[in-house]
Amino acid sequence: MRETVLLAATNLGKTYGPGCHECGNLTGPDKGTNICPRCGTVVALRGVTFELHEGEILGIVGESGSGKSTLVQCIYFDQQATEGQLSLKGYEEQENVLHIPRTEKRKIRSRLMGMVYQNPLRGLRMDITSGANVAEKLLEAEIFHFARIRARTAELLASTEIPSAYTDTFPRALSGGMQQRIQIAKALANNPPLVLLDEVTSGLDVSVQARVLDLIRELQRERGISMLVVSHDMGVIRLLADRTLVLKDGCVVEDGLTDQILEDPQHPYSQLLVHSTL
């Protein structure tokens, strides 16, 4: 069993709206909603607690609106979690990284994390070349040696199977699968211990999906990176994740080994999810 905890989330919560003292009681999986009927607040995440170990892939499944993307975006600091605690190995200055200054958050983002968004428009800039998109991550980490950046960029694009001819092409001219691979190259640029994948293969056709998933699995094995994989697709989770969290209405309703959840789901919602997709 792996021992070292890379990322630990405790009671993570995210709400949109004014909030009232009944929000907690009136929302959640047993109420079947994440909108508080009293004040209209959206409780996107509530009391999410988990640990991610080094070299592990943790899957996060759930239906649309269950809080999957909000969860990874809170971890990547795209959104500010409203409650709870998040600690990260490699950043020891503060126990809880949710409330550190934004400059510090950006340091964590550029050195300790990588992110692959569902929509490449969020993760890439379409008006600069593919190579420059990857280089941006290196420059964020204050690597200012041009030849080294150029070499590293080429190496990363090669490892994600982007033909070198496309290095100086704008991502908008490339296919969806190619764009996702550039995002992956960018996410891996600084050898981060943690990579977040938000619905990476949704919107790609099945053969391209398979190649991207293979690539992710290979790179993960090679480098021993920890990953959080968000997907609504049980197939993706089965293929990638060691352990899985099932989210519903912002709460974790079940967690355990992926095989266990797929073969013997305990929570009625997990059962529904497994049976309706497999």
Partner: protein, 296 residues
């Protein structure tokens, strides 16, 4: 009718240096903040002036708010005391202040310029005022003002670097000729007005105070004396300046000055002359010896 006729009448007088004292104080307050935060752009009111915005009103207001009766003023445009913009600004300031003007940069206490700093490095006690068209160096990469301010506040300059990276990929070197982004005091990235790369070293650890004013964009910023101003450069691609090797000024023979290319009106023959006309005149008249010259 000349400006003097307008200003000279007994019933129709402007305040000293045109701006009223309240307006000057507002500019000075912004300037104090700018000096305290080197390279940081400070907003100021930038009211209407008898010169259109974009014609040096930023620098003009800085000069107007600082000038006193004992100041000696030099105004240049493209390094030249005699170009249209410089002449007009000088006329306005002389008419409203009566100060002494000079073409000799060593004599000036206040030197307003758009594109150049004088060839002779300015010294302690002198103030350089630069007219800035585009104060925001990040505008190239980010159109939103809210976003560029956040980027400055957080030192989030990766995208500026990406634009330099792309430039090197495409052109082999950074191709920006003016407004070359500089890191001031190891903190903010600043656009050093449209001065050429050639002049940047004179901003770094200088003896004099540099004040930069952008009238249309309503921003002032400053480089105090002895403040570091470092052009952004990659570790393995050093910053370079304009190359005039093998060329000399056709008037004074200098080989170590920033040269302009001019064409003979009759023959169409190109020749090179010093961009800093004040310096060139001093050498030609024998007032100073050229530091390096083709023919001495």
């Amino acid at each position: 009718m000349s400006l003097k006729d307008l200003l000279g009448g007994p019933d129709f007088r402007y305040n000293f240096a045109f701006l009223d004292e309240g307006a000057k104080r507002e500019v000075r307050r912004a300037l104090l903040k700018a000096v305290a935060l080197p390279g940081h752009q400070v907003p100021f009111a930038s009211p209407e002036l008898p010169i259109a915005r974009g014609w040096g009103t930023g620098g003009l207001q800085v000069t107007m708010s600082l000038i006193g009766p004992d100041d000696v003023l030099k105004i240049i445009d493209q390094g030249c005391d005699g170009s249209v913009n410089a002449v007009n600004l000088r006329k306005l300031l002389v008419a409203t202040t009566g100060v002494r003007t000079t073409f000799d940069s060593r004599e000036a206490t206040l030197m307003q310029s758009r594109h150049r700093l004088p060839e002779i490095p300015m010294t302690e006690g002198q103030i350089a005022v630069l007219q800035v068209p585009l104060p925001e160096p990040l505008r190239l990469v980010e159109p939103s003002e809210v976003e560029t301010r956040r980027m400055h506040a957080e030192g989030d300059y990766a995208r500026m670097w990406v634009s330099l990276y792309e430039d090197v990929v495409q052109n082999g070197s950074v191709s920006l000729s003016w407004g070359y982004p500089c890191r001031v005091n190891d903190t903010y990235i600043m656009s050093p007005s449209p001065i050429p790369r050639w002049d940047l070293h004179m901003l770094h650890d200088s003896e004099h105070l540099t004040l930069l004013g952008a009238g249309r964009e309503k921003r002032v910023y400053a480089v105090p004396p002895h403040t570091s101003v470092r052009p952004l450069e990659f570790d393995d691609i050093p910053f370079t300046v304009e190359n005039f090797s093998g060329m000399a000024c056709a008037r004074c023979g200098s080989t170590d000055t920033f040269l302009d290319e001019i064409y003979d009106e009759k023959t169409g023959q190109p020749s090179r002359v010093c961009s800093d006309s004040g310096y060139c005149d001093l050498v030609t008249q024998g007032m100073i010896r050229a530091r390096q010259a083709a023919r001495a």
